[in-house]
């Protein structure tokens, strides 16, 4: 049926190289960082990639939003229904709450040109590399963390892992890989012109990570 497939596989199988490679033991690395250390590592690393981080309690979230959004000229903010349910009655009524209820195609222009910011949950974070981890869902689709100029991400303190390896293993990723899994470690950036760093080339210009304590 597929000739090229057969030719390629045949050639690859042809190599009877039996030399077994010394398998290196990829020992699982743990640092045994305390909760405080984990939070500070995550924050430091994110900040060094020009993300902002804030440590808040659940109850402080709404005040933070009401204070910070107007400061940043955010007139509207995109969010999933769960967050909307939680905060929309308390949020400053000058800020319009947008929801991603319809397929992208039906509102692409508004998403690209008229959406100031988004707020999403995460499934955790990685302290060692300073990454937040997202598994987008129908409620919080993929483009929420990519298209608006400002992305605000909520990270619950007990979902911060030391390493990428740990989050893959502890959350059983292999068994249930989502359509798209993402590590995000700062705002979009480039160094393509004379190695000068410039932010916000295609994705968000700002990444704000709110670490929520319970």
């Amino acid at each position: 049926m597929n000739k090229s497939r057969e030719i390629i596989l045949e050639r690859l199988k042809n190599n009877t190289n039996e030399t077994s490679h010394t398998k290196v033991d990829i020992t699982k690395k743990t640092y045994d960082w305390s909760k405080e250390e984990i939070i500070s590592k995550l924050s430091e690393n994110l900040q060094s990639a020009k993300a902002e981080t804030y440590l808040l309690s659940d109850a402080e979230l709404i005040d933070w939003l009401n204070e910070e959004l107007p400061k940043r000229d955010i007139n509207n903010i995109l969010m999933g229904s769960s967050i909307a349910k939680q905060i929309s009655k308390d949020i400053n009524n000058e800020i319009e709450v947008l929801k991603y209820d319809d397929p992208y195609e039906s509102w692409s222009e508004k998403l690209f040109n008229e959406t100031d910011a988004s707020i999403t949950t995460t499934i955790g974070a990685i302290a060692q590399s300073g990454s937040i981890v997202l598994h987008p869902t129908p409620e919080e689709p993929r483009l929420m963390s990519l298209v608006p100029d400002i992305h605000i991400a909520l990270v619950y303190e007990d979902t911060i892992y030391e390493t990428f390896e740990q989050i893959i293993t502890n959350q059983y990723w292999v068994k249930n890989m989502p359509t798209n899994a993402l590590l995000i470690s700062g705002p979009s950036k480039t160094a393509d012109i004379e190695q000068v760093l410039a932010y916000g080339v295609h994705g968000p210009k700002e990444l704000i990570v709110l670490i929520l304590t319970s």
């Binding site: 390629i8 992208y104 798209n180 899994a181 470690s185 295609h202």
Partner: protein, 473 residues
Amino acid sequence: MHRTETFTDRINDALDNEQLHSNFRSAMNYLMEKRRDKFPDQEKLDNLRNIASSIRSNSLSNLAELLIKLEEKLESNNIKVHWAETDLEANNIIYQILKDANAKTIVKGKSMVTEEIELNEFLEDKDIEILETDLGEFLIQLANEKPSHIVMPAIHKSRKEISKVFAEHYPEFPYTEDVDLITQQARKILRDKFRQADAGISGINFAVAETGTLCLVENEGNGRMCTTVPPLHIAVTGIEKVVEKLSDVVPLLDILTKSATGQEITTYFNMISSPRREGEKDGPKSMHVILLDNGRSKIHQNNEMQETLKCIRCGSCMNHCPVYTQLGGHAYGTVYPGPIGITLEPQKQGITQLGELTSACTMCGACGEVCPVQIPLPKLINKLRSEAVEGNNANELIEGAGSMRKLLESLAWKNWKLIYSNPFVYSMFSKTTTTLNFISPKTIGKWGKYRTTPKPSKYSLKELANQAGFDNE
């Protein structure tokens, strides 16, 4: 690639270009320093290199099996898999997919493999608009040039040159040499393009067989745009990019970003395992993967040269190469320049075609020392050199082996061997050379053009040693 001049011409041109030198020198210094800062501890680095190398070797020793598994997983995730033995076949498959979807405008993420198959030229010939969206690639596409580095494609261009090209194509924006402003102007132009594109094309950094996941490493977000916004996504990859397990990507990602740009991690690590699922509101509705051979399965058959395929395209070997730093990427005239280029390209295109590339190496060994997956590049380059002059094409796997043998040169080496392996002949030879030193040539070929021509001494080393009172033995 279209090569009109010879390799020597291109080398001479590059050596005459002062601007090019300073662009490359400063860029390479910057990249080397950033990498060094990320690996302060040699022992830890060696350990990580061992791990990364063993993962890649393991992939290659089970390549057929892993590809079959990958195919099965991808198909069960609703991603259509295509196999292409040659560049032409890959281009035709991609064209057919686009045609069936009636796709006329394409956005593309940075991908060396699509450079390799010259996909842009192929599609443009068929009146399909294909736009590069990585900022560096976008700028050199405007300038109608090719990447000169596999990670930093526009490294050869100065900010001034870029500003000029940009202003020529987009006169509606005010002229600027400010990097932030150019970046924001490009953002504005490209955002509309992403939104309106009929299809997105990308490469792949790692393809995970265990889960059928395609991984992309990037900083800008254009890769995410190309793979999420348009209704159709086509990913193109060399067959060697497969890894067995999801956990394999952890150390590979770590060493890749540190080696390439000295980053702890890139802004985005994007893992895609299926097109838009029922109920989801964005993402492409259909996805295709092209598994490209284009000479790789042949390289795979030679156990020694197979190591070439471990490459994770970090660019570190070129950043540390003294020859690349002098010449820049374009002088090589191939898609992949630098140490990996002179190792890979002659194997793919044959020594008859590209064997001369292997001369662009001083055997300093730097590339082999920094390669994150421990490819013994100097050894492989040396092997290719000897294949080029000594190999026998009839039973060699490397195409064009022996094709660079020169009668005079091989005669000279035969004589050298004869002289140096026989004490009596040797002493006769050295006597003759020292006595008749006055008839030695005034200049020796191109090498002598810029150097004082050496003359055989009046006395041999042995005679001098005897005079100095050293024992005979």
